[in-house]
Amino acid sequence: MKKRTLLQAAACATLVSAGPLAWAQGAPFKIGLILPMTGQQATTGRQIEAAARLWIAQNGDTVAGRKVELIVKDDTSLPDQTRRLAQELVVNEKVDVLAGMGITPSAMAVAPIATQSKTPLVVMAAATSSITEASPFIVRTSFTLPQVSVALADWAPKNNIKNVVTLVTDYGPGIDAEKYFKERLQFNGGKVPESLRVPLRNPDFAPFLQKVRDLKPDALFVFVPSGAGAAVMKQFGERGMDKAGIKLIATGDVTDDDQLNDMGDVALNVVTSHHYSAAHPSPANKKFVEAFQKANRNLRPNFMAVGGYDGMRVIYEALKKTGGKGGGPALVEAMKGQIFESPRGPVFIDAQTRDVVHNVYLRKVEKKDGQLWNVEFDVIKDVKDPGKTK
């Protein structure tokens, strides 16, 4: 009896003391983070959420006098779910910023809501070029597929890879990758004798790889969503294509840092182009990787994590710039033109396109201390999304 009274008294005391304080601070600044936390794309959600929480842990949860509140919702990467959740977050929770978006269709589904409600939408993963054009309130901190594919098409001809067959998954990002790689390679004097598209739910890559083998190109360019990449690589090795003199080049999704170690030695020497590698040799990245692994039971951050981490920075900086006032149009305005040093290197949010401009690196999978890493060996600086230059 005595104990209960004591507890009640304590509860009352906290309420009384906390109440006015909370009022004084004003309403919290709410960030609605919609991510695939379950289902096929769940690693994306897991990485981005971990990165966002890491950013908050490192930079505090109060910005310009306002408490930042992160609301994470799982859309299982179904666009209609994403749309419903975004609606709920905007109408019921009155979030100040929407963020996340694991896949392109999700981002596209939410774009009209961002426009109508004038809520900034920070895209942290989806990478089809046209996303930022879907709404003036979209700002992207991940990357675009044209960016990374074009970089590879610039690098290849200089390294005696002129005849390349492309193999992409048949959906938005894949078609982007195919189109921009092909155009740039042809512009650089290369040839693309065949462009193969595999269905999104493709059980077996054997027929496609056999076709490539029979065409005998200098290299095979691959974009598949992370996860399927390992299967392509394994079968590529087993078919003896490397021995037949065909190289495997790909966008960095294929050698995703999240899974690279489990892929085993088949991944060795695969050349990829991407904007982020956990092995990026900069002090900022070393700090980021260390902190990330410490907070997440040694999980290695991948390019999704860095998209989430930088997305949080962009939101924080924008809130600071508006003096804690927020407001959709003001926030978007404040996000435009931000320049900062990210774990991936220098990053610039292009004011015109609201899309990310960053370095694209060429990397090769190497073994270091018994682990596989994407080791960068070349860089193409400040790559603007080629999809926007009309």
Partner: protein, 291 residues
Amino acid sequence: MLTILFDGIAYGMLLFILALGLAVTMGLMNFINLAHGAFAMAGGYITVLLMQRAGVPFLLCLPLAFLGAALIGAVLERTLYRPLYRKPHLDQVLFSIGLTFMAVASVDYFMGSTQQFIQLPQWLRGRTEIGSGAWTLGMGHYRLFIVAVCAVLTLVLQYILSRTRFGSRLRASVDDQRVAAGLGINVNIVFLSTFAFGSGLAGLGGALGAEVLGLDPSFPLKFMIYFLIVVAVGGTSSITGPLLAALLLGIADVAGKYYIPKMGAFIVYLLMIVILIWRPQGLFVRQGGKA
């Protein structure tokens, strides 16, 4: 050319092992078990866990995957499936699809949704090539291994069903439970072991397929269509039906994707439609047999 044929056969054989258990439960026991893929997934994950965590060699994992999935099948048969045998097919469909979703969610929860990898032993990784030019026959050792396992399985199963006492008891129990029970056959035991065996086959298929098809929690949903196509086209009253159907589909799928990559993904469905229009009962249904 021959390589494509070989790849197609290997792929078809894999589909066959995966779908065989379904043909057994659906055709012989007359139970629509859409959760079949979940047993296949269980086999795959048993293999992954044993190899990654316990370092069990791959070859030993295969029988263990079979036994593991069979055990799960037996337990579920006794507890969940048995009451549903006499329910309408719609109930069975709803129940088993629900079970599939539960399996997907729980694997997602416990194992995470990342793609799982297995490392094959060195001797299964290579490749042998015979001949040259257009008639080159390139055989991946692992695919060769799948074909061999599948051939052995087919022979054994065919033997069990048509030649052994258990086979006749099973057929008797399916055709008329009451009379079979009256003759002193323990119908429950027969059904239990058949179901467990079917699940075990699925588990084995999942273990073999993890390398080629990939393994993640959405496995049962991803491949449900393929199982169903094999069983629908092949008919469910014999083993040879699904076998030939699986081979046909495997070869058509691989060849279609090779020769007309733009159309490739639809060839399988096209073939299924044509066959089912031509023979709605499936390709190989015995006259007077149960459809």
